[in-house]
């Protein structure tokens, strides 16, 4: 147990430099075009506005001081203010706080879909290795993975809303019903990845000596597969939960745009079209935190699932 706690603490401490690096990269994005002010002003801002921005961010000072200021603001929850038409002056953090729950909701359902579809399908496919059932699952995963999220969204929309009229097209008006299509769009690609991973992991585990050993003890096949093989095979899937969360964060931007789902993703798209860089920056930073957090959670989950990692 002490090992486990020490492992978790170490993982948390190791995440700190990553967070700092993430803030640094997001901060440096301001300079990508040379003039940071150009990124922060809206097309409508006046000369005074620009001067205000210069003062607020201290662009006349050395870059390290600017970064320090950026960090201090960040700790106080100040991500700057929006410069887009309509929301000019609104603080970015309040915009994010308003939209974040929507995105989290979408991601939660999407993750659920992707694992509850991917894991069983992968196991099924591995058990039927090299049969037509396995091959069709593999073709499905190839297509589902190759399918860009936005086009999948459009197709689903066409099918369920335009032709079948069973689910709402966009927005949130339909309540949970409105959530189904975006969540499916989001989850399907990752479900394909999970299926393939689970399948190859199952096949790998099936080759291990301990599986033969367990069979040689006369254990029923369902115990061998569902108790022993699965618990071992799921370990590599757990290691990529962090990456999956990253995938979902990226996917959410597209899916929310397609389905006009008012979350952070849509906020980013709107801000890009509206040249509202402070908001883009803030959103990216928040999403980065979530990705890092997701990886941390994945590491900790893994430590619980695999008794071998706690030693390190």
């Amino acid at each position: 147990m002490a090992d486990l706690i020490s492992y978790i603490i170490r993982k948390i401490i190791l995440a700190i430099p990553v967070v700092v690096l993430a803030t640094l990269i997001v901060f440096l994005m301001l300079y990508l075009t040379g003039d940071p002010v150009a990124q922060l002003r809206s097309p409508h801002s006046s000369v005074e506005d620009i001067q205000k921005i210069r003062e607020k961010y201290g662009f006349d000072q050395p870059i390290i001081v600017q970064y320090g200021r950026f960090l201090v603001n960040l700790v106080h929850g100040d991500l700057g203010s929006s410069v887009a038409q309509g929301t000019t002056g609104t603080s970015v953090s309040s915009l994010i706080v308003e939209k974040l729950p929507r995105t989290l909701e979408l991601m939660a359902i999407g993750l659920t879909i992707s694992y509850s579809l991917g894991i069983p399908l992968g196991v099924f496919s591995a058990l039927r290795q090299n049969t037509w059932k396995d091959r069709s699952v593999m073709v499905f995963t190839l297509v589902a993975y190759a399918m860009p999220a936005f086009w999948l969204g459009i197709l689903l929309m066409l099918l369920f809303s335009v032709y079948l009229h069973v689910l709402p097209t966009e927005g949130t008006v339909g309540g949970f019903k409105s959530l189904i299509l975006p969540a499916m769009t989001l989850g399907l690609g990752n479900a394909a990845l999970t299926t393939r991973m689970m399948r190859s992991s199952m096949l790998e585990v099936a080759r291990q000596d301990y599986i033969t050993q367990l069979r040689s003890r006369g254990l029923p096949e369902r115990d061998v597969i569902f108790k022993h093989a699965m618990k071992n095979a799921i370990l590599p899937v757990i290691t990529v939960i962090g990456l999956d969360i990253g995938w979902f964060v990226g996917g959410a931007v597209i899916v929310e745009t397609v389905f006009a789902w008012p979350g952070i993703g849509m906020l980013i798209t709107d801000s890009i079209t509206g040249s509202d860089f402070p908001t883009v920056q803030g959103c990216i930073l928040v999403l980065a935190f979530f990705v890092i957090l997701g990886n941390l959670v994945a590491d900790i989950l893994y430590a619980f699932a695999d008794p071998r990692v706690r030693l390190g």
Binding site: L32, F150, I154, V258, T269, T273
Partner: protein, 302 residues
């Protein structure tokens, strides 16, 4: 003078040792021919590439040419129909392939270069250098490439070059991670230790043993990477952060078809289908090559 020439020939000899990588290409050719996935993937890529390259000389309308036939359904004169401005969708899809392929290939070539240099440097020097580079790699690796590319594209402003730059700086981490992992694991192999026992230095070991042994997984990843890059590029265009109209781009075409989904579904359907097939082609090639090049996976179809 002779001394210099001697050292020069030494160097040449050592570069010739890179020929160890040749074996990879021999493997790809001889074994790949027998692999269904490699053949299918390669055929798809070949057809799409040929159409894209030849599109200016094909007897189709210019992709930007407007016509009075607005929102026409697919017919013999407009195979894929026309869009809201009366432009030929088939022609736009072909020209879009040019953009997609060029952007994706260049972005992956740059990512590959950054990745190999970073990964090899980390593996070569080890210690503090490795610690810093590995940390950076991990950050870029855990962070979704698409979101990163979106952020960079947003910061740089939408343009073709910027999309390539954005994808490159977002995607290199995968290659770097692969390269570093391979460098670290190959370094542990006994033949590297034997080489060290013969007196080989790090530089020699990296270039004659480590790098050639990494070529195979790099090729596999590059193939899958092009597929990813095509998806990212079209997603960026779809969101309006990529190539700007009137440049024909699959992502943008899909987006503009969204408004007319009810009355003219072909506007977004055809670019979508072609996009899917192209991405599928690269993924198939990558998967097939992995089976071909990784003997451990032999016999296992994935």
């Amino acid at each position: 003078m002779t001394r210099i020439r001697g050292r020069l020939s030494d160097r040449l000899l050592s570069w010739r040792m890179l020929g160890g990588a040749r074996q990879t290409f021999v493997d790809i050719f001889t074994r790949g021919r027998k692999n269904g996935m490699v053949v299918t993937g390669f055929t798809i890529i070949l057809v799409v590439t040929l159409l894209a390259v030849l599109s200016p000389w094909l007897p189709v309308a210019k992709p930007t040419a407007l016509s009075p036939d607005l929102l026409q359904a697919p017919s013999s004169s407009h195979w894929f129909g026309t869009d809201q401005l009366g432009r030929d969708v088939f022609s736009r899809v072909l020209w879009g392939a040019r953009i997609s392929l060029v952007v994706a290939t260049l972005a992956i070539v740059f990512s590959l270069l950054i990745g190999v240099v970073m990964g090899l440097t980390a593996g070569y020097f080890g210690g503090t250098v490795d610690y810093v580079i590995a940390g950076t790699i991990d950050l870029f690796w855990t962070f979704p490439a698409f979101l990163l590319a979106l952020a960079f594209a947003a910061a740089l402003g939408p343009s073709l070059t910027n999309v390539i730059i954005a994808i490159s700086i977002s995607y290199w981490a995968g290659f770097a991670r692969l390269m570093r992992g391979q460098a670290l694991s190959v370094r542990e192999r006994l033949f590297v230790e034997a080489s060290r026992a013969l007196g080989a230095n790090n530089r020699r070991i990296m270039f004659t043993h480590v790098l050639p042994n990494c070529i195979a997984p790099l090729i596999v990843w590059a193939s899958v990477g092009v597929a990813d890059a095509i998806t990212i590029e079209s997603s960026l265009s779809f969101l309006g952060a990529g190539t700007q109209p009137p440049t024909p781009s699959w992502g943008y075409m899909l987006h503009s078809g969204l408004d007319a989904l009810h009355e003219a579904p072909w506007i977004s359907t055809f670019p979508g289908v072609v996009l899917l097939i192209t991405v599928l082609g690269f993924n198939l090639l990558g998967d097939g090559l992995r089976d071909v090049l990784d003997p451990r996976m032999k016999g296992l179809r994935l």
